[in-house]
């Protein structure tokens, strides 16, 4: 019955049609033009040998040669892959559990939870570029706090054997607060009667969390997983302000950028790297969309 009644408000006059059309088409045109078209173009360019000097029509299709070159004769490629993976693992196995633990502790309703939350969340409002600069005060070779306290003389941002880890500490500093916030929101949504029931059944705090609360948090867990993967893949600002992603800090994102903005503009080559990023991210984007767009039943 309700359906037939609603039909009335879905009826559109001529003007309404134009208005609705514009509301959809203008934003869509912008996002297709500046996001989707470039995404497709990146994939297509990766199969060509375009040098970026002549017109695009002068480019020849050379199949998978760019990919072959990237994998076989481009020295920073494998280090970059390795660094991206390390980045992901650290975010996932260090920053995420710490953020989750802090969320659980704060969620128990300790006094001063507002102070803890604010302090932990504060780094999240800073840009990663700025974080790179702030941590320079800690990492700098001659004046840094870390060397002053330990009496060492390591150039934490410069030494290729440690600079990735230095960057990861700074990145985790920000990530922990973000993860904590996501889990705090998730924990607030957990039905209290579930914990109550577990308590009545004699389950202790830890069992209750892992057996009852954690499974209920599944959507948040998946979102955190996806956000972590995508953020690890997009990691850029921090290493770019440190040394433009060289000398121990190579990441796929910085390789793409260096290949385009630098003197040597190797379009097809950079596009192959870009396609690689698109491929990985699209898997996780699909997972994400399936979670968040599920109609509430």
């Amino acid at each position: 019955m309700a359906r037939s009644r609603y039909k009335g408000i879905n009826q559109l006059s001529g003007t309404d049609r134009v208005v609705v059309g514009a509301m959809v088409l203008v934003p869509t045109a912008i996002v297709v033009w500046l996001v989707w078209l470039p995404a497709v173009a990146s994939v297509l360019l990766s199969f060509t040998n375009w040098d970026g000097i002549g017109p695009v029509s002068s480019a020849k299709v050379i199949g998978l040669k760019n990919y072959k070159d990237v994998v076989e004769i481009y020295p920073p490629f494998w280090p970059a892959i390795q660094h991206n993976l390390i980045w992901l693992v650290v975010m996932f196995l260090v920053a995420t559990p710490i953020g989750m633990l802090l969320a659980v502790l704060i969620d128990r309703g300790v006094a001063g939870s507002r102070f803890y939350q604010t302090s932990l969340f504060l780094p999240v409002v800073l840009s990663l570029a700025l974080i790179g600069f702030i941590w320079q005060l800690i990492y700098s070779k001659d004046q840094g706090v870390l060397n002053a306290v330990t009496g060492g003389s390591t150039d934490w941002y410069g030494d290729p054997s440690v600079n990735l880890w230095a960057a990861l500490v700074a990145a985790s500093w920000r990530q922990v607060g973000y993860i904590m916030l996501l889990y705090l929101a998730g924990l607030k949504g957990v039905d209290p009667s579930l914990r109550e029931a577990a308590r009545v059944d004699g389950a202790n705090e830890r069992t209750t969390f892992f057996k009852i609360v954690f499974p209920v948090l599944r959507p948040i867990n998946i979102i955190v997983l996806v956000v972590t993967v995508i953020e690890s893949l997009r990691a850029f600002d921090l290493v770019w302000v440190i040394n433009k992603g060289r000398n121990g800090l190579e990441l796929i994102s910085t390789l793409v950028t260096s290949n385009i903005v630098g003197e040597a503009s190797r379009i097809g080559f950079g596009s192959a790297l870009a396609t690689f990023m698109l491929l990985i991210s699209s898997v996780f984007i699909v997972i994400y969309l399936r979670i968040v767009m599920r109609e509430p039943s």
Partner: protein, 305 residues
């Protein structure tokens, strides 16, 4: 039965804890001490930057950072001049304000159509925008960069004559990336607006445009406030596109101009600290004044579903 109890009171919690939990849980003081320690550790880098931004370089160079004294305001004065902060803050405003307004307006349009009507393409449309928000921007750099370099624009749009090196190019890219997140959050919110309100609006003879402006938008003030807070912070903090699309340094927003404070051969870290504090200040003020908005915007987007 206390099945509906919101949460166990601290007193009973303490009791159960000491019986079942590990030693840390048993201690009444352990938890607050632990959390306080972690919080202070987290505030450390910011406190360090703040403290040393007010200290004389010669003093800290002699006594090290783990010392006390040498307070001065010159770092701020020097950083402001050397980093040309006046210009770069102005650039940031020129980029952030239009980008946030356009993002919110376009997201409202998309969210309204998706929430108000039941077109077949609704889900695909929302997916198109949300997925765009998650793509790695570096992967799109080549085509966007080449396209912007090739597109000629009149000089009143950009003095560079192309979209590359122009504020409008950067604004549009930011809008394209951010609209997805906002449209998603807003559509979820708009779906909770009762259909009856639209029915009576239609009965009153209101067209779609009037429904949008006089009914939907006023009701969406809470999520719009939250999203505006978030987007101002994000676009102000945006670094990648600004760095690669604005090539002349004097156009950089303040976040990308940060490198100006680094000397070629030698970096005065106290000066850098003062610059960092100034750059962080707008986002910190937004965060402290609008913390509720900030947090609710972030959790709205992430936990829905």
């Amino acid at each position: 039965m206390s099945v509906t109890a919101r949460r166990a009171r601290p007193s009973t919690e303490g009791l159960t804890k000491s019986r079942e939990g590990g030693p840390r849980y048993g201690n009444r003081w352990g938890m607050p001490l632990f959390l306080t320690a972690v919080s202070l550790l987290w505030l450390g880098p910011i406190a360090l930057a703040l403290l040393n931004s007010f200290r004389d370089y010669a003093f800290t160079a002699k006594h090290g950072y783990v010392s006390w004294g040498g307070f001065t305001l010159t770092n701020y004065k020097d950083a402001w001049t050397q980093g040309d902060f006046g210009r770069h803050f102005f650039n940031s405003a020129l980029i952030t304000v239009p980008a946030v307004l356009l993002t919110l307006f376009f997201s409202c349009c998309i969210a309204f159509v998706v929430a108000r009507f039941s077109f077949k393409f609704n889900l695909a449309l929302l997916g198109l925008f949300t997925a765009a928000n998650l793509l790695p921007p570096q992967a799109l750099l080549i085509p966007v960069y080449r396209m912007f370099r090739a597109i000629q624009v009149p000089f009143w749009v950009s003095d560079s004559g192309t979209l590359l090196n122009s504020f409008w190019g950067l604004i549009l890219v930011n809008v394209a990336f951010q609209t997805g997140f906002c449209a998603f959050v807003l559509s979820n919110y708009m779906k909770t607006i009762p259909r009856e309100l639209y029915e009576s609006a239609v009965v009153d003879g209101a067209g779609v445009l009037r429904q949008f402006f006089t009914l939907t938008l006023p009701l969406c003030r809470p999520p719009l406030a939250a999203l505006a807070t978030l987007e101002v912070t994000w676009i102000y903090n945006e670094f990648f596109w600004a760095t690669v699309l604005l090539q002349s340094g004097d156009k950089f927003p303040v976040t990308s101009s940060i490198n100006n404070l680094r000397g070629e051969f030698f970096t005065n870290n106290n000066l850098v600290a003062a610059g960092s504090v100034m750059i962080a200040l707008p986002t910190l003020v937004i965060f402290f004044v609008l913390q509720k908005q900030f947090v609710s915007g972030l959790t709205l987007g992430a936990t829905k579903g």
